[in-house]
Amino acid sequence: MDFALDKKHEMARSLFREFAENEVKPLAQEVDETEEFPMETVKKMQKLGFMGIPVPKEYGGQGCDPLTYVMCVEELSKVCATTGVVVSAHTSLCIDPIMTYGTEEQKQKYVKALATGEKLGAFALTEPGAGTDAQGAVTKAVLDGDEWVLNGSKCFITNGKVADVYIVIAITSVTEDKRGRKKKNFSAFIVDKGAPGFSFGTKEKKMGIRGSSTYELIFEDCRIPKENLLGTEGKGFPIAMHTLDGGRIGIAAQALGIAEGALDRAVAYTKERKQFGRSIAQQQNTQFKLADMAARIEAAQLLVYKAAMAKATQKVYSVEAAKAKLFAAETAMAVTTGVVQLFGGYGYIREYDVERMMRDAKITEIYEGTSEVQRMVISGALLK
């Protein structure tokens, strides 16, 4: 067992780090303050291939592996969690399901444009009445001749409105099981922005990741071509769950990055900040806190990288992804809260990044499956 990264991954990390420091970090505060989507940064990332890192070259991607992609989200999130989630939702939640379940025509049409970054992607499962309990969803799709007709709405959609391509999960039939219980059968669809009947509702005002564009999607007799069904009809739920397994690795990487970024700030600050005649880094309370954070972050990193490797080599990686996301998200929350405490009053002021990091961290415990859902996945596999 070798825990060292090989040279090409080391070099990729140095690239992501340099880009994040030079291009992303200077804008992080402004993006948070103005709640504006960082379109200029996305254009720069598009030029460098960051929007299709794990996608094979023949589909317009960079031909790298999930680990490289995860390191990109990690390094971006170290300085700006908003930028991290833009890449994560686009890559894991939109490109990945089309690569996994799409027909050759769909891959040619959509993945090429998405992986080169010419188009931006999003994924829509959550509805006002259906969060963790996806069976509560009501958005429907009915086949009418050569078109599917969608009706309903989706909420909290990352990259909403700015994205050009949406993976939408909708009910296509309701069946009864042997005991007479009704079961909704879902299907997955690829919906283009601009499809007739597809519009955007309210933009959410959020606690953190404020530059990320979070919108409600509205489908009113939205008509899309028959061939935009993704995968088999009725298999939308397993497609969504499998997609989220991958997405969770991306969010775990985002959480890891947030925690690492906060620790970096804490190390620098505690060496400078003097109280009682010496730096607070010379005080044991600080030293012990920093040590605990560093140990936790490294454990999170190992889980995240392990999950990324599992995605590269295994068909099913739900448990690895759930463990990585659960632990990394809770680490991000604990570390950022601890770092704000070390900063004292300055930690509570917006001028310092750690206040933003603490707000950004919270969402990682909630979206793409709450920490409770991750515990359900992990214990479900244990008790099977």
Binding site: K7, K8, M11, L15, G49, Q62, G63, C64, T68, C72
Partner: protein
């Protein structure tokens, strides 16, 4: 067109400088980067490649680990990498280095050779022009702009207060300033490709028309008397005064130091 770019892996001065007992740099113990002027030279070559079509070969002399800087150049878009490494070449000063690089370049076809103006470790600015001398080529140093016209290059050579525009027939050698351009980033796919490709490794035996007495530490006329890390300047004194007060304050200080 064929362009050869000479690049050097140098210590990242952010990571601190370490020395061997003989005063030479302990390169193995330091974090490294591509020398900034060389990176600008590489970027210039890659832009010429995009504009006029060219094959870009990067060459470096150094320890075996210097292959990293070649991979970095390839991940930015260079087509081939050549590493010149051999124990007998170690400890070389500018003379022995330029002799070595010229000996390696004699094996290659080229229209244009681009080097950085100078490396941030030695700061001599000698190796580029010396290579041109060994190869009998015209040299234009301190380039801030490069254009191709037919079989010639038109280069703006930078001075403190002006520039000269010079035209030279190829083949020739140009030394580049880091102000020449903003070097591009690597791409993730470029990095993977760079590590999947081969880097050519040459030793002493592969150098053409060079004499052993001109190589390595033994072939280096420069002897280093003493080398040390940069001495940190004091924090200085900060004052906040209006214009008249500042003038009076400065005059007072200058008098105190017997400057005026």
């Amino acid at each position: 067109m064929k362009i050869v770019v000479c690049i050097k892996q140098v210590p990242d001065t952010k990571g601190g400088v370490k020395f061997n007992p003989d005063g030479t740099l302990d390169r193995a113990a330091m974090l490294t980067i591509m020398n900034p002027d060389d990176k600008a030279g590489l970027e210039a070559a890659l832009r010429l490649k995009e504009q006029y079509g060219a094959e870009v070969t990067v060459i470096t002399m150094g320890l075996p680990k210097a292959d990293e800087v070649l991979r970095e150049a390839m991940a930015m878009g260079a087509d081939k990498g050549i590493l010149v490494t051999d124990r007998v070449l170690g400890g070389a000063d500018t003379w022995a280095t330029s002799t070595t690089i010229a000996g390696a370049i004699r094996n290659l076809e080229y229209d244009l050779i681009i080097t950085g103006r100078q490396a941030i470790d030695g700061d001599t600015a000698q190796v580029g022009p010396q290579i041109a001398e060994h190869l009998g080529l015209p040299v234009i140093s301190y380039a801030q702009d490069i254009k191709i016209e037919g079989d010639s290059v038109i280069v703006q050579r930078q001075y403190e207060d002006r520039y000269h525009e010079l035209k030279a027939k190829m083949p020739c050698l140009i030394t580049a300033l880091s102000e020449l351009n903003e070097p591009r980033y690597m791409t993730p796919g470029g990095i993977f490709e760079a590590y999947d490709s081969e880097v050519t490794v040459w030793g002493r035996a592969d150098l053409k028309d060079v004499d052993d007495s001109d190589l390595g530490l033994k072939g280096s006329p420069t002897k280093i008397a003493k080398a040390s890390d940069k001495v940190r300047k004091g924090a200085g004194e900060k004052v906040n005064l209006d214009t008249d007060e500042s003038v009076a304050y400065l005059i007072g200080k200058f008098k105190e130091k017997h400057i005026i």
